[in-house]
């Protein structure tokens, strides 16, 4: 347990240095700042439309994946590139503890950044309209999407030096291209799982308006949570298996 905690803590420090904290912190609140600047004179309904445009056009499909990708891919990828993976794996701890702790460290940072982004956007909307019902759903939606992305990108960072490139291709070609064209595949899109969480927890009036922004075929909360758990479990199991079987140096 001490070892897992130490790895988690070290991972947080590793993927979240001061420079990254500043850059990604600013990036996370960018949608909120855009909303703040662009919604000053809008009526409540127009402000809601502006919020949903931010949520569906910027926060979930762009900010959440990119922040998640860059942070997560470095969690194991940097260890492999810097040769510190050998330092980690020749310790008397199970490989599952290593993969679990690496995932947890990255997921906490990703969750914090995406939560900050969603929270800032919800906060601005609340301050503008006095409606606070979207604040927590936005935070949780960002955390759910970020967690699923982390589960995908931590092992990807281990497998390839071009994880960021591969991740961007996944997000922009598959999720924002293929899945957008074939909405039946939306369950395979992590940011749509986050959006589903948001839609499920937000006030009904907000959720109903999401359809106007192309957010269709969204899953229920139970199904989304189950999918997220499955992806995380498979990811940790797969990473553990790779750490056990693959040559590590």
């Amino acid at each position: 347990m001490r070892a897992s905690l130490a790895i988690t803590t070290a991972t947080i420090r590793q993927v979240f240095g001061i420079r990254r904290a500043l850059i990604f912190g600013f990036a996370a609140i960018a949608p909120a700042l855009v909303f703040l600047v662009s919604s000053q004179t809008l009526a409540d309904e127009a402000a809601l439309n502006r919020l949903l445009a931010m949520v569906v056009g910027l926060y979930f499909p762009l900010l959440v994946p990119i922040v998640s990708l860059i942070i997560s891919a470095s969690a194991l990828g940097d260890e492999r590139r810097d040769g510190t993976l050998s330092f980690l794996v020749i310790r008397p701890i199970p490989r599952s503890a290593i993969s679990g702790a690496k995932f947890l460290g990255a997921a906490l940072v990703v969750g914090a950044l995406n939560g900050l982004g969603g929270g800032a956007l919800g906060l601005m909307y609340g301050l503008e309209t006095g409606v606070w019902g979207v604040l927590i759903p936005l935070i949780l939606g960002g955390i759910v999407a970020g967690t699923v992305y982390t589960a995908l990108f931590v092992p990807l960072g281990f497998f390839t030096d071009r994880a960021v490139l591969a991740g961007l291709a996944f997000v922009f070609v598959f999720e924002n291209g293929v899945v957008s064209a074939l909405s039946g595949l939306s369950a395979l899109s992590p940011w749509r799982l986050g959006l589903s969480t948001f839609a499920a927890l937000a006030p009904d009036s907000v959720a109903a308006d999401l359809v106007d922004f192309g957010a269709v075929n969204l899953s229920g909360l139970g199904s989304t949570t189950l999918r997220a758990f499955v992806v995380v479990a498979v990811s940790i199991a797969a990473t553990t298996m790779v750490l056990r079987r693959r040559d590590l140096a």
Binding site: T84, S86, P94, R244, D247, A249
Partner: protein, 313 residues
């Protein structure tokens, strides 16, 4: 009682017919050897397969064929054995943003050491890192990083220590300190395996050598024994005397002498039987009234062993 010089009596690390290939390239081929308490030098030129061998010993990479046991188990499937194994890899393998103290404490925590702070402080003292321990590893020289890695490997007090070119980048003072440290650890009964291509270093650190050339076990045993086993090449002996030319002429009449050269009144005598020459030279010197001041084999060093092994392949 084993007669194979590649094997030791009480092995802590056993390598059984191990091969490793990466695609078409064979890095290690059919190596069988073992390591026990004391310092063993893993010797070979660059690219010989030493690093691959060390990585297999730690379970970082899997043999393509054969088996490895560390304290009786294959580490990959029994990670608890790592509590007794320390590795100093050749590559950087440090976290540049960590201080050396944090890095070593991290190693202690991961190894399950009860008081990680105390163990880290002790390991820092052992490698004489001193005040520099609280500086970030990213700003360290290569030699200092090596010492930090050695401290991290030692922090859990392992029974087995595997060191891949541990003296790379160290200055002469650091080198001497580390060589003495490895010898001391070996004398304490730990299994120390040190890979190096710097022959002088291996000779100073270890009594026993496993020599790998082109991925194959080229020789094993103590350095002098390896040299004795190479009976197909002549020994070269330095003889200093006050009557060099007379003695040289007389020695050339002996069947056991293959040749003599004179260099600044020093004789370099080649023979296939060192012991016989040692008995014969005083007799001959007495016959020609020469006084022998030096009689010393010139090539019982690891350098000559290594040159021979590489050249033979």
């Amino acid at each position: 009682m084993t007669t194979n010089p590649a094997l030791v009596e009480s092995p802590t690390v056993e390598v059984d017919d191990v091969s490793k290939w990466f695609g078409q390239k064979v890095a290690v081929s059919n190596v069988t050897c073992s390591f026990g308490p004391g310092v063993t030098g893993l010797l070979g030129p660059n690219g010989a397969g030493k690093t691959t061998m060390l990585r297999m010993l730690t379970g970082l990479i899997r043999p393509s064929q054969g088996g490895i046991k560390v304290l009786g188990v294959w580490p990959r499937t029994s990670p608890s054995v790592y509590a007794n194994v320390g590795l100093v890899p050749e590559e950087a393998a440090v976290y540049p943003s960590m201080t050396a103290r944090a890095f070593i404490r991290y190693a202690a925590t991961l190894a399950g050491v009860a008081d990680a702070d105390e163990a880290a402080a002790r390991a820092i003292d052992t490698v004489a890192l001193g005040d520099a321990a609280d500086r970030r590893l990213g700003g360290y020289s290569k030699g200092m990083r090596q010492r930090a890695k050695v401290a991290a490997a030692l922090v859990a007090d392992p029974q087995i220590l595997l060191l891949d070119e541990p003296l790379n980048g160290t200055d002469p003072v650091q080198r001497l300190h580390l060589i003495n440290l490895f010898r001391q650890l070996g004398d304490e009964g730990r299994t120390i395996v040190v890979s190096s291509h710097v022959l002088d270093e291996v000779e100073r650190m270890s009594d026993r050598v496993i020599a790998i050339v082109d991925g194959r076990l080229a020789a094993a045993g103590d350095i002098a024994a390896i040299r004795r086993a190479m009976s197909d090449i002549p020994y070269r002996v330095r003889v200093e005397t006050d009557r060099s030319r007379v003695l040289a002429a007389r020695l050339l009449e002996e069947a056991l002498v293959h040749g003599v050269t004179i260099d600044d009144d020093v004789l370099h005598v080649e023979t296939g039987d060192l012991a016989a020459l040692g008995r014969r030279v005083p007799v001959i010197a007495g016959d020609v009234d020469a006084r022998i001041t030096v009689f010393r084999p010139e090539d019982a060093s690891l350098e000559s062993v290594f040159r021979y092994l590489v050249g033979r392949r």
